[in-house]
């Protein structure tokens, strides 16, 4: 029994490692959308998003906290719109004291998220097998 358990354990683990490895390195599976954002700045912008814990209330593709709206595509409303919310807050959202550089980086990050697709549930198609697709 112990032998079979160990063998199954190792096999499953190997499959998992291969699957994970493929996800870490395979660029082909992540469709490259036209980069109308600054790739370097968006990387920093991700950290700004984390530094101020925006995810506590907001979602990206529906993932995050639910006190505020989803922000995946908010960059479509423009830099000044986002900036106004950051400076003044709204409802439970406090005003944030971001430097201008941070706001710029954050906005590039939101542009990258917008370029990757739409988080609006109305824009998904339903397939016969129960899957959904944009």
């Amino acid at each position: 029994m112990n032998k079979w358990v160990s063998i199954t354990f190792v096999l499953l683990s190997t499959a998992f490692l291969l699957f994970s490895w493929n996800i870490y390195r395979d660029e082909a599976v992540y469709e490259k959308k036209p980069a109308d954002y600054d790739a370097e700045m968006q990387k920093q912008g991700r950290l700004v998003w984390q530094k101020y814990n925006c995810h506590v209330c907001h979602q990206l593709y529906g993932l995050g906290g639910f006190l505020g709206p989803d922000l995946t595509n908010v960059s479509e409303k423009g830099y000044h719109y986002v900036d106004a919310f950051l400076k003044n807050g709204a409802a439970s959202m406090p005003a944030f004291n971001l430097t201008e550089e941070e706001t710029n980086q954050l906005f590039e990050f939101l542009k990258a998220s917008n370029a990757s697709g739409s988080s609006n549930p109305k824009e998904y198609r339903k397939l016969w097998n129960g899957m959904i697709e944009q």
Partner: protein, 438 residues
Amino acid sequence: MIKSYKNIGNLFLITALVLFLASVIFGFLASLLYRYPEFLKDSIGLSGLRPMHVTAAIFWILLAATGAIYRSLDEITKQNNHKYLKLLHWILWVIALIGIYYAYFTGNFGGREYWEYPPVFALLIGLAWVLFLVVFILKVRAIKKWPVYLWMWFTGILYFLFIFIENYLWVIPYFRESFIKDMVIQWKAAGSIVGAYNMLVYGTAFYVMERISKQANTGFNKWAFALFFLSFFNMLFNWGHHLYLVPTNPTIHYVGYIVSMTEWVFFIKIIYTWKKQVTEAETYLHYFPYRFILASNFWLFFNLTLALFMSIPVINLYMHGTHFITAHAMGTTIGINTMILLAAVFYFLLPEEENHHSQWLKAGFWGTQISLLIFLIALMGMGITKSLWFFEEPQAPFGEMMERSRVWIVLFIASGTVLMGSFVILISKITATYYKRS
């Protein structure tokens, strides 16, 4: 305290209870923000309260499981050894905890959802976890034939470490290059790390049940191993169900979908063994470790049903991004993990049944079960409201949608208050009795 030092497992359990208490208090304060948006807005706010709440909840689970596993291993090997390693393990956690809460209170974040502290503290936790693995291996290396719970603990400890590291790949800029890839890895790790600590918790449930029913062979049962592998398989590959709406490679979606559907086996198995449990329940109901495990079974059924439907992409489309997800997350952490760990706390800290004949404990038990049910219903009510809003045409402003949820929010806060009260009763009664005994 002196007594606890003799057994580091107990020290972990008591520390975990303190975190549990902290978690329900922070959670209660955070819930108020839904009704009173100005509350603490310009001081801690939800940006601070939610991390304080979630971190304490996750650490309660991790530390209580660690304590239960240390106690179990001592029982299994019939010796309480490696005390200094275990103590060092505990000290690392305490330093990490102090650092993390200091950071939270001073508004210093920088981590990701569920792990919002500055990433340097992850080093301490990682190191503590390596020590856990070392002690585990030192303890069990002489055991030739492993019962299923040893496999579960081993898997949980090993994979937690791996996934915890994966959870920090974002520190390397390479992993932040593609927005989608970053999201995929984030939710891959977030999904399977839950599977890893569930292994620790379910292994503990199995061990405690085996001891209560005094049937020493159940740990070698073929069914038990089959279910272990099914959970392991799901832990490794079902996380794609968090990502159905994220436009990534369809393989990831399909793997998540197909693997999640294998969980129907658990569902059928629960119904199948229902009758046996009812008979057993009559024998052991007054014994609190059993009672909490029985409660966890009820919640397992409840949450599994919800999760199974949520894992079907077309249904997920309507539940994703709403409080259904919160209901699922809180339903499992409170209903399943917390109930099992409270069973373990009773079993290891207050094993004698005469300590369980207390009106307070009974009130605490029923208070938690009933308020949890109402609490989850309220969250699902908020979920339905939001889901209807997602698909309405034209869509009302976000604030108006929140306003429509008012009744649910009031119910959510009210039941949450009772839930907190009941847990406070349980925690204080357990610790008071424990210290009185020693």
